[in-house]
Symmetry: C2
DNA sequence: CTGAAAGCGCTTACAG
DNA sequence: CTGAAAGCGCTTACAG
């Protein structure tokens, strides 16, 4: 038994041409049923498996999509990996995974392109205008996941993206906070130039403005646990000027805030401060946190990503941005405040 | 500018043969420095990138390793993905990711093999003896991560594996629990046939036996949050016969236990029960949990996996099992008990 | 150091 | 329905 039998070996055993073997393994090719049976039997006997690499070379379709991510500690992203790779697998595609900092993204992308991926999805990273252009010229669709191209940043090359309706989500939280009587709302930003953080903040500000309010305070947590902790410490340094609500750009930072508030500042949530997050990661539902948050609909986002990818792979070349509704999930970290008057 | 320039296009522009272009892009090939420069300049001008697929076809080396996982909710695995893919990237390898249930692993593996991966690492899944045989015959190294082949299960085909010293880890916990005066130790198992769960339990039992004790109770949490919750409810149903310590096969279940104990059973940890986990995931350090646990040294495990993979890819074909030390991390969920006498 | 040629394992017109 | 042939984009002996 040969180590790696090829279509030729199978052909010889089945007494047909190598082309026939190829046809037996391609759906919809014209082979007589009896011939196909004979070929498949021979293939089974030899342990033959078509070589996907050779097929890729000739069809120019690898059925591989590159997935670029930067950090997995925020539980939202493992979820995305899981769902996205399953959705792609169901459609006969595979994911080549790259973990890298945004700074390394360009080098990594160059690498990906060598592997002739059919598409690229970038989550928790963005690409430079140069690479966007390269991809566009190479005809490789790129979809940004949970982020949107900065205006002008991609050098005019339209790039698809899938996001939640982040501004609406931020507004939902703002309205709820106003409705429940909060007067000193603080915002814990993610990355200063991340569209998710920017849009959620804009929505929050919209809602506050409609109630004649502004942001009481603001700090930057960089979507990082330790940085968020520092930011919270700074925000609550002055006991006389304490926020009565803290809205964090994602759950990961909201949980960091919860921990810091309780265990380091001795404050009670929601009695002393209300806390709200964004994402609805699994931990948000744990009783220790019972975090009020905005749910991102991962399944719909993943579906949209897959659809966008496929419609571009299969020729309709226009880039599109899709936006998925999100919903407020009220749990236990927000308390109605009496209006001081 | 051509969409996807090939080595021929570059050759034409640089006025050399296609072979020379190939040499300019392979480290250590013999090209005159001046020629190489001219070729690289031409390549840059055309935006040429060598086609990794074509290279793979001829070198029979894809520089891709398949990573098979089943679930990512347990934060330990995202960590593994992150570290492993980075370690591999640093060595010029890439990871093709597959998420699947153990039941589907065979079909998925067949798929992976078509892509001519250079190696496979299986974390949170195992493979059947049939596939193990296929991989052995195809000369594709497989390393099991955080699990060990069941005796006899792989049909005599030796498979490499990387695990912590799970039995020692279990023993460490058992000894500590005995030393701190616990008399009614319960074990929350993961999967009944998982080597990790089995070994950790065996270590625990060793330590208890040396103190003349046995397990007070035992339940199965299947490494799942919801199942672990049910198991804890069952374990603590009878107030008169309550465990004074609960050792869970991993942190994910230990946290589920903590949440259930506190919020559903109204018990205090560690005052009413001590709780210990295994892994030392990031959340274990969060103040809300301050979980005492056994640390798995992910970095050393990842290193060992990479080394095992590479030594087998590069010809030394013996499968080996490597075992990495683990250490007790004492935080706040274990309390010293007075001996009732 | 360099080029011409063979070939990796397939798919796919093109004839028959 | 089937086979012979060309070719996908490279690497790598083999000569020179």
């Amino acid at each position: 038994m040969k180590a790696n039998p090829t279509a030729h070996d199978v052909a010889r055993l089945a007494g047909v041409s190598q082309s026939a073997v190829s046809r037996a393994f391609t759906a919809g090719a014209s082979v007589a049923p009896a011939t196909r049976e004979r070929i498949l039997a021979a293939a089974r006997e030899l342990g033959y498996r078509p070589n996907a690499i050779a097929r890729t070379l000739i069809t120019r379709r690898s059925r591989i999509v590159g997935l670029v991510m930067s950090y997995l500690e925020n539980q939202f992203y493992p979820l995305v990996i899981e769902r996205l790779s399953q959705a792609l697998q169901r459609n006969g595609y595979h994911v080549l995974l790259f973990i890298c900092e945004t700074a390394e993204a360009d080098a990594v992308l160059a690498d990906i392109l060598q592997y002739q991926v059919d598409g690229i999805v970038m989550a928790s990273t963005t690409l430079s205008s140069g690479l966007a252009q390269d991809c566009a010229e190479a005809g490789i669709p790129v979809v940004l996941f949970n982020r949107v191209a900065q205006l002008g940043t991609l050098g005019g090359f339209a790039t698809s993206s899938v996001t939640s309706q982040n501004r609406e989500g931020g507004r939902l939280v703002g309205e709820m906070l106003v409705r429940t009587g909060h007067r000193r709302v603080a915002w814990l930003a993610g990355l200063e130039n991340a569209s998710t953080s920017l849009d959620r903040e804009a929505g929050l500000r919209d809602a506050l403005a409609e109630a004649g309010m502004g942001l009481h305070a603001r700090a930057v947590g960089r979507y990082d646990f330790a940085v968020a902790r520092e930011a919270v410490l700074a925000l609550f340094r002055d006991p006389a000027d304490r926020p009565d609500a803290l809205f964090a750009a994602n759950d990961h930072m909201a949980i960091a805030a919860l921990e810091t508030l309780r265990s380091e500042l001795g404050l009670s949530v929601p009695q002393d401060v209300s806390v709200v997050g964004f994402d609805n990661v699994p931990q948000a539902a744990w009783p220790s946190f019972a975090l009020t948050t905005v749910q991102q609909d991962v399944d719909r986002m993943v579906e949209a990503t897959r659809d966008l990818l496929f419609e571009q792979i299969h020729g309709e070349v226009m880039a599109r941005s899709v936006t998925v509704p999100c919903a407020l999930v009220e749990r236990g970290t927000v308390q109605t405040r009496k209006r001081e008057r």
